[in-house]
Assembly symmetry: C2
């Protein structure tokens, strides 16, 4: 993979609105695996240098998404620990570590969804916002168990449509609403389940803009609010300043007017006090007044 | 105005998504004035009967909007009190009462906006949801006073675009966002101001869907939340069952899918506990723990 192809993949990851944080983190690992196998370099030190530099560039593509940082960092640690054994061996080992981490991530997401589904049990009405692959997996896991869904469109690009399409294919009874109707429908739900792009050290949740509103409405109506995300979503202090990514205002589909600024911030932060429990691959961690109860 | 023309006006009022409750109430009065002047009837009793029947039909066009009921009811009372004086006199008097009530309504809206503007004062950042003619009048009243606006698009038909267009023409610095971004921007505002379609006896507010979310976010961030509506918006016990109108799901612009129900409820109810003050033509009435403080 030459610099030009690599740069094209970087740009595609930056612009991606379809895939969530876990999926994009695995895409980054796939890019690193391919770089390890195919980068045109003379020797092992040159490959080590190039891989490190590319991993650092990928980490910066989506600052609101912790898993990119976490999985690439874990991969770099493994590559750094790999003893010098020649160019061929490093290519094989570095790409194998990437493949293994991708599998590890997939298993963590599947296990998280499974923990959530088991906790919720049959015949539940579940409300969600945006499109999370983990939340989609919860619905898939419960589709034979009488689950029903309330799905928001999730402006500006309405990825709720994609979730509604999948739910429809699985035969899940689904109510599809505008984001503005969240307050009207949340009390119809037995629980709200959302994914996350990142989890902050204090338990606050970075997720698609509108999640905070749904959490406020759920809290107000005493509907449990669950955050489903594998532990790779945890942000730590080393990730630098927290940035909520803004995307192209053209996505709002409204013409530019004098004195009017269009804002299109993609993520908001839901404080931990509005979360009933965090669910990851290890289980359900309830929010207690004193903090998280493992 | 014959039955066919009247029915066309009724249908237009039912389908209207552009105008708010006060404007549509005045449109109803205009229909009654025209009916009084032009209805083809033989004598005064026949006109009285027809006017009453038409007013009752108009009252039922928009069940979420109290002013239609209030203004038409007030008009009917005036017509009923009008002594028998012949067909010509009744035509003149009934249409004059309608014209006077339209002026009364316009003055009440203008005075409400003026009370709100005066209370807020200069150099404020004000956030709103949907398009309220009263709220628009507040911005117009403060446009030379350094007011700035944060405006939501207000799905499904995005009447926030119309408000942003007016604000742009008035030179008001405006931030335009998706409804989902409310939680991100409310803390930038000095106050939230919304109109109402109806005000319930306990002070709860029926307004465009999404208002409840903005009220929850404002409450959570300690941003004052003002409801600006003239007293014609007050609902009373005689208005029958409260209905939150649902509109055509086609407005969501998403294709129908098996097992998926599209919902397009236009209004939600914001409980009185989330309102900082109600503003009408008589002044600003603060919410105190014991209830409304006149």
């Amino acid at each position: 993979m030459d610099e030009k192809s690599f740069q094209a993949r970087v740009e595609a990851i930056k612009a991606d609105r379809e895939r969530g944080a876990s999926e994009l983190a695995r895409e980054c690992l796939a890019v690193m695996a391919e770089s390890a196998r195919k980068a045109r370099v003379q020797d092992e030190p040159e490959l080590r240098k190039l891989l490190r530099q590319r991993a650092m560039r990928l980490m910066q593509t989506r600052p609101s998404m912790a898993p990119l940082h976490n999985l690439l960092n874990r991969w770099l640690e493994l590559v750094d620990k790999e003893p010098d054994g020649g160019l061929g061996t490093l290519r094989v080992q570095a790409s194998r570590y990437a493949d293994e981490l991708m599998e590890f991530s997939l298993r963590a997401v599947a296990e998280t969804a499974s923990q959530m589904a088991e906790h919720l049990g049959p015949n539940k009405i579940l409300m969600t916002h945006s499109l999370s692959s983990t939340v989609a997996a919860v619905f898939r896991g419960l589709k034979e168990e009488g689950v029903a869904a309330i799905v928001t469109e999730s402006r500006p690009l309405c990825e709720g449509q994609e979730l509604a399409t999948r739910l429809s294919e699985w035969g899940v009874q689904t109510t599809y609403i505008t984001d503005a109707q969240m307050g009207l429908f949340v009390s119809d739900a037995d629980a709200v389940i959302v994914g996350a792009d990142s989890l902050l050290p204090d338990g606050s949740v970075i997720n698609k803009a509108g999640t905070l509103l749904l959490a406020l409405a759920a809290h107000d109506q005493d509907v449990p609010f669950y955050v489903c995300c594998e532990s790779f979503k945890r942000r730590n202090e080393n990730m630098g300043e927290l940035v909520l990514e803004a995307m192209d205002p053209a996505e709002l589909s409204v013409s530019q007017l004098p004195h009017v600024t269009l804002e299109n911030i993609y993520f908001d932060i839901t404080p931990a006090r509005l979360v009933s429990a965090w669910v990851d691959e290890r289980g359900v961690h309830f929010n207690t007044p004193a903090g998280s109860d493992e």
